[in-house]
Symmetry: C2
Subunit: 114 residues, 2 copies
């Protein structure tokens, strides 16, 4: 997924990926340390396959990346993905800023007919 110039589908995937507590926890973990998929699976009360699916969702969303090492698959955090989400949120904050500015303009407007 291209993380700059995000299309709707990419944005959907990013937010969707973060809308699950297990996946958010995985993101935290793999940001601070290295984990294999089975290393991650050991942390949660669910099957290996379930964790594997969560990692796949995060990977499609560009929030983590996998790298094969021997028979293991090492999962690492992908900072670009997170930055994309952050930039998106910044855009929404910017819209609020515009709104505040617009309201200020209206209040500062020269009263003409009253």
């Amino acid at each position: 997924m291209v993380v700059d110039q995000l299309d709707d589908t990419g944005i959907d995937r990013l937010f969707q990926a973060l809308a699950d507590p297990t996946r958010r926890d995985i993101v935290r973990r793999v940001t601070l340390g290295e984990y294999s998929v089975s290393g991650l699976a050991a942390l949660y009360a669910m099957s290996f396959a379930a964790v594997q699916k969560h990692v796949a969702v995060l990977e499609r969303a560009s929030l983590v990346s996998k790298e094969k090492r021997g028979r293991e698959q090492i999962v690492r955090g992908n900072h670009e993905g997170l930055q994309s989400v952050r930039r998106l949120l910044d855009e929404y904050e910017e819209i609020w800023r515009q709104r505040a500015a617009r309201i200020a303009d209206i209040l500062a407007e020269e009263p003409k007919n009253n």
Copy 2:
């Protein structure tokens, strides 16, 4: 929903709510101007009920609020909700910062036995 002190369910709702392009568009619109539910519904190629559901999802996530005015229900953006998401993202960025600091520490560590 309490927007400070967010529990997992609240966070889930926030990200889930933002994981749909129609809902993201609604958030933008109602931030800049006032819209009734049917006013919003007129903007999209889907039924009134569908838009009503989208607004309900955003409301549960604390991203918008409704206010009854006559027979209309006015939808407005709720800045607190957005700020919650932003704070969450900031936490993840902070984790990355910690990671970077930790790596820097390791590199700066006094070599003792080589």
